[in-house]
Each structure stands twice: as structure tokens, then as C-alpha cells.
Symmetry: C3
Amino acid sequence: METRLLEFRTGSSPQTVDLTSEVGQFVADKGDGILQVFCPHATAGVALMETGAGSDADLLDIIDHLLPPDFRYRHQHGSPGHGADHLLPAIIAPSVTIPVIDGRLQLGTWQSVVFVDPNRDNPNRQVRLSFLAG
Amino acid sequence: METRLLEFRTGSSPQTVDLTSEVGQFVADKGDGILQVFCPHATAGVALMETGAGSDADLLDIIDHLLPPDFRYRHQHGSPGHGADHLLPAIIAPSVTIPVIDGRLQLGTWQSVVFVDPNRDNPNRQVRLSFLAG
Amino acid sequence: METRLLEFRTGSSPQTVDLTSEVGQFVADKGDGILQVFCPHATAGVALMETGAGSDADLLDIIDHLLPPDFRYRHQHGSPGHGADHLLPAIIAPSVTIPVIDGRLQLGTWQSVVFVDPNRDNPNRQVRLSFLAG
């Protein structure tokens, strides 16, 4: 299995990070198989969705509707609302797989690989790419 | 890796499509491994859930609760409410994997493979099946 | 493909079950590859999230916010609210993959493998672990 750990920084506000280009480069010299995108964090997820037409910002807004910051969370560490961040990966999982044919991600025209990070408290983030040839 | 692209039409209203039969046929002559079901669309997802007892229709209803059509979406293309469609794959991912043993999907009794499509604007849909033998 | 079926009991109230230890033991003698965690149930899911600091209990609470027990569900079998249970796997999928390197799950520090079971009606539960070497 070929695997690579991407490291990057987000910031002090909720963010999405479009990783499509890095992910595409990782598989470019590989043949057919399944790529796994995995983030080893308990307060982030990976979505396959459109970017650049507003939906990435819409996603950050809708997270507050799905996981309200003022909900009575038991989890009490971190900044206010951090309890919600810890539920995000149950809704937007930190692991997704993408088919690869002849070194090319078989994404649709409008699909991007998006790291979804509502967490203000940890700007140092990682994503592991792993390729299983088949 | 063996892979096949299914093509089908949905319609002008939100729909679910039960793909269990086609998916089962695809793996029937294969041995052990992992099947990936992937839809290359930014406004659809794949769920493993019960069909035929109302839950597939319930899912379309609950999507409007999770992603309200009247939310203030930045995404402005397409029919009213299309902004919500673009958030669906963050919640119901377009990629799922299923274990296969001796050519049989290891689904539970009540699990079906369901294409979830809230999008009124694009009736031409695809799902890619990919099998990694193991 | 190496595969194992875990069997366990939940109970008569919504529960989460931390399976990280069993999952780690399953891969401990394996090399590099992808582990799939799959539950063959239509009313449960698998999340990768923090446990032990309140978020597992928070998740059970937020499920009632996402899938309200008093929603007008068509699905009418089982206990009151069972219609919601049948939508859970669309939101918290029953299938997740985790990278494995040298027999070790590449989970983050705060990530656990959590079986999420809102269903009061079926305490006999299974999870299938499948490992694809790569």
C-alpha cells in the first residue's frame, strides 16, 4: 500500500480546505485501485462536494443548524461550541474512498475532495492518503 | 480492479433508487473482497438502509428538516432549494464500501443499497461499482 | 481477505459501544492495508470519534435533534420513534474504512471506533471486520 501524510494549517475560524489537487497528484503515477482519504482527527471530516460556487461556505453555515453551538453538550473542553466540533465526524465522516482508473480520480465534474474543519482550537491538521491497487 | 458504470434516470422530483439487485449481480461471479459503490455527482449520495417499509420516503422528508429549502444558501444555481442539494453529499456521502464473501454482499437482512437523489435538475445519473479482490 | 464477525449485545436504550480495542487486536498481526468496519444492520451506524469525555453521550442526544422522535415517519414498525432509527444509517453510515500500517490502526489520538445504536428493539448486534492487505 502506498501512503502519504499531508500536513497543513487551517486557522482560528471554521474552514474548508480543497485537497483535490494534492489528492490527484498522489494517484497520478498509479494504475487502477481505490484511494482512501483519511483524517486522523476527532473534530474534522472529509466531504466530496462542489467548491467555488458557495456550497463550501454553505456547509460551514449548515453545521451550526445541524450541531447547534448552544446545544447542551456534555463535552466541556476547548472553546465555546467545541462540543459540537466533536460530533462533526459522526455526521461528516473522516474517511472516504474514491475509485481510481489509470491514475485518475473518478470524480464527477463538480466533485472536489474537501477537508471540513469547524474547530477553532487546532490549526495543525493532517490527512492520510492510501492507495490500494487492484 | 473490476469496475462498471451503471447509468439510469431519476426524474423531476426527489427520489431514491434501490440498486441492491444490480450491485449483487456485479459481485456474483467474484470471490472475497470489498465492493465500493461510488456516485460521481455533487448532489446525490449513497445510503445503506431499509427500503419498502416507508423509510426511503421518510429519508426524502427528513432531508428537508436537515437541509431546509428556505435556508439562506450562497449557492444560487438551479431550481429553488438547489443550494440544499449541494450539501447533501456532505451528510449522505457518495461513496460506501460493502464486504463481499464468495460473491455475496454481506448486507444485513434489512439493508439495501440506495441512491439518494434530491436533485430535480439532473435526471441522468451514474453509479460506479468497483471491486477489490482480497 | 481476512474477515471476522464480532457479536455483542447492546440493550433496551440507545447506546454507543467503543470497539477500538477489538478492532486493534484484529489488525495487530497484519501488515499494511485498509480495514473496513461494517455493521449489517439497518438501524445502527459506525462513527470515528472521541469517547470518554462526553461526546458519545452527546451524540445520542443530538440524534434526537437530527431525527426527531415525533417526526411524521411513514415507517410504523417497532417502538415509538423506531422510524427515526431507520434513518440513522443514512446519516451515520454503517461502513467505514481505516488505514493500517504495520499492524496498527492509523487513528488519531482522540479517535475511537464507535458502534452507534439508537435502537431499543434489537440488542443482538454484529460488526464485520475485513482487512485488505496492500
